[in-house]
């Protein structure tokens, strides 16, 4: 009899049998999983059963989720999406470089470089305040309108420049916040070793700052991937424009749904990855 309580003591069996706490927590976990499953299934069921009962469902389905139109247009959309990928691929590095340059302009402290600093401030204020579409129109139609010869008036060149102008303002701000986030003691340590201001920035501050802002910049680049579609306003037939063409040819909105699916296939993993990086960073900091 006297041995029973001893045997129940969890310390006696650390590895083989679960402790009382573990048994309890496993029970709680099972129960919450069950509730989550039931509520998810019932919401999905409600959507799947109730929405098609709506009187206009058949028309909506025909206009937005039309299998025939989807099959006919999806390959063309994929092909057009390649242009989005290309525009993104050459814009992103340019944005990263010019964003960094502008962030450094804003961070200059030497009085002789004050004009540079003023430029950095004005630049980020102006381009973060302007709608992207407006910049694309002004730069994409305006600059070539000054009389540039082909191929230098291409909407691809100037449309890309518009994206670079706007997005480097955002990237510059993010990088600057990263620079500000590096503790003064790091600069002190570098200075105490006799490093120059430029070397301190290049070897000590920037590498840490940029690492800190990778997740925030990931989000910006996901937004960029969507805004590449705005280049269609000045001519390039990327996926959004191609979907619009199909829409008007078929009098049907399904091509937009197809385009959305293609976008999501890219942006959802990218967003998840950015969140993962962000969480990892938050964990590392705490």
């Amino acid at each position: 009899m006297s041995e029973t309580p001893l045997r129940n003591n969890p310390v006696e069996h650390p590895a083989s049998t679960p402790t009382r706490r573990e048994v309890y927590e496993a029970g709680v976990r099972r129960r919450s999983n069950r509730i989550a499953l039931i509520s998810t299934v019932s919401v999905l069921l409600a959507i799947v059963v109730l929405v098609p009962l709506a009187p206009g469902w058949e028309a909506v389905q025909r206009a937005f989720f039309n299998g025939r139109v989807f099959a006919a247009t999806f390959p063309g959309l994929l092909e057009a999406f390649f242009l989005n990928v290309m525009i993104f691929a050459w814009s992103a590095p340019l944005i990263a470089i010019s964003g960094l340059a502008i962030a450094l302009c804003r961070d200059t402290r030497a009085p002789a470089l004050f004009p540079l600093r003023l430029f950095g401030i004005a630049y980020t204020d102006i381009f973060r305040g302007l709608p992207v579409v407006l910049v694309i129109y002004i730069v994409g139609f305006g600059i070539p309108g000054l009389g540039l010869p082909r191929p230098w008036n291409s909407p691809y060149i100037w449309g890309t420049l518009a994206l670079v102008l706007v997005y480097s303002a955002y990237v510059a701000e993010v990088i600057r916040s990263g620079i500000d986030s590096i503790h003064q003691s790091q600069r002190s340590a570098a200075a105490s070793l006799g490093l120059s201001d430029q070397d301190t920035m290049r070897f000590v501050v920037l590498p840490q700052a940029i690492r800190n802002v990778v997740p925030a910049n990931m989000n910006l680049f996901i937004a960029l991937q969507k805004d590449v579609a705005l280049l269609s306003f000045i001519g390039p037939v990327e996926i959004f424009r191609q979907a619009g063409v199909y829409k008007s040819l078929y009098a049907n909105f399904t091509p937009y749904v197809g385009a959305a699916l293609i976008f999501l296939a890219l942006t959802i993993p990218a967003t998840r990855y950015a969140d993962y990086l962000m969480n990892k960073q938050n964990r590392a900091r705490s």
Binding site: P144, N153, V245, K247, Y250, N252, F253
Partner: protein, 274 residues
């Protein structure tokens, strides 16, 4: 095939219901507001289809045709109301705010799967809008000459299948939201030419595009599927037979041709592209 049988069917209905349409009872109970015909046009509506963006005046080709059709259907001038819609609003599912929608919609078999079109009220040639500079630099109105040009078009028009099927330019065409953007691209030298229906091309070259010119036209008879404008209606609405009857009547009596002669400039002098 579908288009032809559809047209044949429509013709059948129209001939049998001429009398019904003529006495103005065909549309009874089939309009949004009883006793009134609600007609949609674009926002804005463009010359020469509607003059001064004021369809109520009955001036401009489509405005005049609209009132003539309404009259045949038994709606007097004061029983017609106008609304504005975009193309997207015209094709969206659900209740519509118009009975008939008229803004140079080209009839295509794909579109007919989704919405109803009336019989055509106008058959358009496609024309090549460009600038005098391009013409002077030696652009030719031949298929080979056209292939070499840098092309643009408004993305929502049937000019696009025409471009890709007939002209097949060597560089992928650039597409735009509206006439204003096409004009901006021409001004910026980013495109040499744009493809439009002939009346719009004539208007743009004369009024909008600086130094504008027409390089040539593809007359409707020459094309395999000529660009025909129809009135758009909600799919399955019974109004189609009344509208078709009215249009057939106008066509047969020559009234339609007279309206066309009054509002659309003759395309004489625009070279034909072989």
């Amino acid at each position: 095939m579908k288009l032809i049988s559809g047209t044949a069917l429509a013709l059948f209905f129209s001939t049998t219901s001429v009398l019904a349409a003529g006495d103005g009872t065909c549309a009874k109970g089939k309009t949004l507001t009883e006793g009134t015909l609600t007609i949609a046009t674009g926002n804005p509506a463009y010359y020469p289809w509607v003059m001064n963006d004021a369809p109520e005046s009955g001036e401009g080709f489509e405005a005049a045709v609209a009132y003539a059709i309404a009259d045949k259907m038994g709606f007097s001038q004061d029983k017609v109301t106008w609304v504005r819609t975009s193309f997207d609003e015209a094709i969206q599912p659900g209740a519509k705010n118009f009975d008939i929608n008229m803004q140079q919609y080209s009839i295509t078999p794909e579109r007919e799967e989704m919405v109803d079109f009336s019989l055509p009220y106008y058959t358009s040639a496609m024309a090549v809008l460009t600038t005098q500079n391009v013409v002077d630099s030696g652009a030719e109105a031949t298929l080979d000459g056209l292939k070499a040009l840098k092309w643009g078009a408004v993305a929502t028009t049937t000019a696009i299948p025409m471009l890709s099927d007939v002209i097949q330019p060597s560089d992928a065409p650039l597409l735009y939201n509206d006439n204003a953007d096409v004009n901006a691209a021409i001004m910026a030298g980013q495109i040499d030419a744009a493809l439009y229906d002939l009346p719009t091309a004539l208007y743009l070259s004369a009024v909008v595009v600086e130094n504008g010119a027409l390089l040539g036209q593809f007359p409707p008879g020459q094309s395999e599927s000529p660009d025909q404008f129809g009135i758009l209606m909600e799919d399955g609405k019974l109004l189609k037979e009344c509208v078709d009857a009215a249009i057939s009547e106008l066509t047969e009596s020559g009234e339609l041709a007279a309206i066309e002669a009054q509002w659309l400039s003759k395309a004489t002098g625009v070279p034909v592209i072989e």
